[in-house]
């Protein structure tokens, strides 16, 4: 089991490197800024498509942007922009948390050589970004949807099954009884008469 995983991560690594090479080939400045000698500024933007999920209106005020698993936490401005100040050069991880949406974490490389040039890659899809514009991968629905009223849902419920079974017994059994040997039928009827009340066992020829 372990070797399999090792190989998958290796593949991931290779893919990552390929995408990095690709990035270098098409280097596009995203946003850069230098605070001082060795700390830089990362500026990006969160864009949420017009609300598609009912009840999860995209509210910028409740969105958090997190650098390196909690090292810095920042919030969005009304236009969706966010900024991390005083970030050292290196490879960082940016995560966006918005209720109702799933964002891929973003690998951000801040280059020391190119005065804080930023390169970004989505770690989930391994897609590199030309601009640091983060969009949700998918909307999240936290509740199970209730299926609308349907005959099937009634029938599927244990009670529905009971009723269904009774219907089968009531309407299909007499049909089955017609095919029974008249002799046997007669004896059954005899018994029924002696008891006065029809009992389920006497209705079921199969149980005999």
């Amino acid at each position: 089991m372990a070797p399999i995983l090792r190989s998958t991560s290796l593949v991931a690594l290779i893919v990552c490197q390929i995408s990095l090479i690709f990035l270098f080939a098409s280097t596009l400045p995203i946003s850069s800024g230098s605070d001082s000698e060795d700390s830089y500024t990362i500026t990006g933007r969160v864009r949420i498509p017009a609300s598609t999920v009912i009840g999860h209106a995209a509210k910028f005020s409740n969105i958090k942007v997190i650098l390196n698993g909690g090292q810095h936490v920042t919030f969005l401005r009304p236009d969706g922009y966010f900024t991390f100040h005083k970030v050292p050069a290196g490879t960082h991880l940016i995560e966006v948390y918005a209720m109702g949406y799933f964002f891929s974490p973003v690998r951000v490389d801040v280059s020391a050589r190119h005065r804080g040039k930023v390169q970004a890659t989505l770690t989930e899809t391994r897609r590199s970004l030309t601009e640091l514009v983060l969009e949700p991968l998918r909307a999240e629905q936290y509740y199970e949807m209730r299926e609308p009223f349907s005959v099937m849902s009634i029938l599927k419920s244990p009670m529905g099954l009971m009723v269904g079974f009774m219907v089968v017994v009531v309407f299909l059994m007499p049909k089955l009884m017609e095919n029974i040997d008249p002799e046997e039928m007669k004896s059954a009827q005899e018994q029924m008469r002696s008891q006065g009340v029809p009992s389920l066992t006497s209705l079921l020829p199969a149980s005999r």
């Binding site: 089991m1 991560s9 991931a12 997190i66 698993g69 209720m99 009971m162």
Partner: protein, 980 residues
Amino acid sequence: MAIRVFLTLLLFLSSAILSFALYEDQAGLTDWHQRYIGKVKHAVFHTQKTGRKRVIVSTEENVVASLDLRHGEIFWRHVLGTKDAIDGVGIALGKYVITLSSEGSTLRAWNLPDGQMVWETSLHSAQHSKSLLSVPINLKVDKDYPIIVFGGGYLHAVSAIDGEVLWKKDFTAEGFEVQRVLQPPGSSIIYVLGFINFSEAVVYQIDSKSGEVVAEKSMMFPGGFSGEISSVSSDKVVVLDSTRSILVTIGFIDGDISFQKTPISDLVEDSGKAEILSALLSNMLAVKVNKRTLFVKVGGEGKLEVVDSLSDETAMSDSLPVADDQEAFASVHHEGSKIHLMVKLVNELDNVLLRETIQMDQHRGRVHKVFMNNYIRTDRSNGFRALIVMEDHSLLLLQQGAIVWSREEGLASVTDVTTAELPLGKDGVSVAKVEHTLFEWLKGHVLKLKGSLLLASPEDVVAIQELRVKSSGKNKLTRDHNGFRKLILALTRPGKLFALHTGDGRIVWSMLLKSPSNSQACERPNGISLYQWQVPHHHAMDENPSVLVVGKCGSDSSAPGVLSFVDVYTGKEISSSDIGHSVVQVMPLPFTDSTEQRLHLIADTVGHVHLYPKTSEALSIFQREFQNVYWYTVEADIIRGHVMKGSCSSETADEYCFTTRELWTVVFPSESEKIISTLTRKPNEVVHTQAKVNSDQDLLYKYVSRNLLFVATVSPKGAGEIGSVTPEESSLVVYLIDTITGRILHRLSHQGCQGPVHAVFSENWVVYHYFNLRAHKYEVTVVEIYDQSRAENKNVWKLILGKHNLTAPITSYSRPEVFTKSQSYFFAQSVKTIAVTSTAKGITSKQLLIGTIGDQILALDKRFVDPRRTLNPSQAEKEEGIIPLTDTLPIIPQAYITHSHKVEGLRGIVTAPSKLESTTHVFAYGVDLFYTRLAPSKTYDSLTDDFSYALLLITIVALVAAIYITWVLSEKKELSEKWR
């Protein structure tokens, strides 16, 4: 045959309709969520004539929030990062809330009505220093005065409109620390007063528009200042000197500095160390000397004069301008169980504007802070309201002699949690009269039926929800059959113990820890941890269960500990003791005495352990097991195992004190490994079966040991944050160590990985979460540990002939033959904490509860982290429930047990079993609290809440009717056949 078909059909259908999550209308039925903010540090009122009245607060939990002044509800709230402590808060331009955080280096503006961030500015900071925020109170909006911020050695002026830095001054070179910024109204000159190395006072006059220094004056003060300062007017401040015995009035009229010394002994006879209470009082000063509060009037020439004194401890508010150029301030002091709130005019102390006496709960402690606000009554007189922060961190609004609202903010800083049973009902455990009449009962169920068939109107939905909450009887204060009703005992940082009901989260009782001896040294102990002290079941059924609260006086590790025993049913303290030694580690032992009191060992800093309870019976039990008691300690790169040596009677006469000796040490090479996480199994965890049957009818024996320790180390370079290290420099190594012998059972190294490591240890497996630097993704690894020595017992003949070693006692002294299986997966989120569900008998399959950085809790089935997952599982393996291997663990949104809530500032998740095997209690705490009940494999042992009794009834009625009709029909048919 038909029956068999029907049964299989039923089985198939019932398995097909298994759903994973909650429906929207089920939210809030078994779960509750409470929102808190923490202990308030600053409060700014916003009470304009129009609009909602609110108070903006910032707290010690790094929360900035806007509260409704009428009801205390939260309008909006933001929890900043853990390193982003708030230093100051203010309101600018009447529409923005300004917060200064991160030691004066981050300035943010939030929109007042909805809490949207408007701008954010990062300020220069070069060194650690006190930080200060000064927001101009300009009544004329058209004049734009800048916000003055000092922090990290720089003074900044920032425009309130867009956060642009207008100018900055570098004070780093001379070590100048700003103490006060005064912005006289109507002038563009600001006065900046500060100290250089607390021995020289400097006043700068700076043009607030350009940042130019207009004038600069400095003066040496030979004694040095203590740093406590109080502004008394626009040109005077009063400070304490470094000996805390002389008050120094510093006047800086027109830029000239003058000192005027007044020894405290001149003001009051019994002099001592003084403390300045007030920060901003006009022409007044409040000084605390020897537990007395002195009000000192500051005369025109800096002359000090005692005008009033209060004998008890007092909390003071800043002064507030009221009508006619008068200034008023509020003071609160205690008297028995009452508190007195007084509002006085600064200039005429005899003129008490307001005197109110309020009965206060003893368990709230003393008043820590007072914030005052005034309003104009209908008869044009001044009314006052006061926001007070108590010792237990609770926040109360006082108005017109009553507590208008209160918030239990102590619950935002929970340190330890345990659960306890509720008392039995008087007449046994019975379902009380929840439904009144049969008609109402039927009506309720018909409503429910309508709801489940989606035929209900919106009013019906509301009625159903109400009915569900009310009728479930979940809020009663007695035990129930299923063990769903329980008490959650939460110990908070201020040392208050809360008992919360699992039904609705209300506080059943609360208790503030008291110092047992009422000694001077320890007025109020801090709460550290909580243990089950007495859980009566077999004998001693009449005893109430109790918990042990371990507290500490002071913050350093050698501070003396305090034990408190609390009755769970009543919330009363049974006894408390000052134990006279420090508390490093508390170890519950697996032994109880005849009254079901659990034996505990407490280790202190000297290396001794102390036995509790201090009874001869406990001592005799402990003496019997003396040789079998081991414990371990973890330091930076060493783990030490200890064993009992003997009584420490040679040093002290205490027969419950024992000495220990070191048995083994595991030393990690400090240049390459540093311990970042250690973890053991929960001591009370139940394991149902030791054996695990494979798909190929093979047996695996779990290595279930209570003495396993999981240790994670990283290379010292990788101990920092992500992004500070390259993959080549960092590696993560995990160990499984036996804590009796110090033997390393398993070692696994992850190259190019780093912490933080969050792990969970249950039964025979560990799951841990860490960061993979090469893939730049988070990873989760599972390690399962199996017993090899028992693997030979598979043969049936061996079992029959008794040639197996299953009955041989398991001993930690022998060398275990173990083997492990492990597998790693990617995980797409940062994690704050991981827990695992626990059930009464351990039969139910387990779920991992992952607290994500988004403050949600994800329930992940343990089957997803099974090391036997393969890419293409065989048919047999599929039947066993093995999921095909994927490189990433799935995040299913419906599996968030917190559904649409966030447990802001999540710190921990606690699980506890209920009596029903399928169900487990989950309690998560952080700034918020969240509770829910989980059934990891569905509620297979009970009907769900959704179960529709009405449908069952209708079905039965329909069946009876059908039987009757068919009977009538068959009679008729028979009759007609007879006539034929």
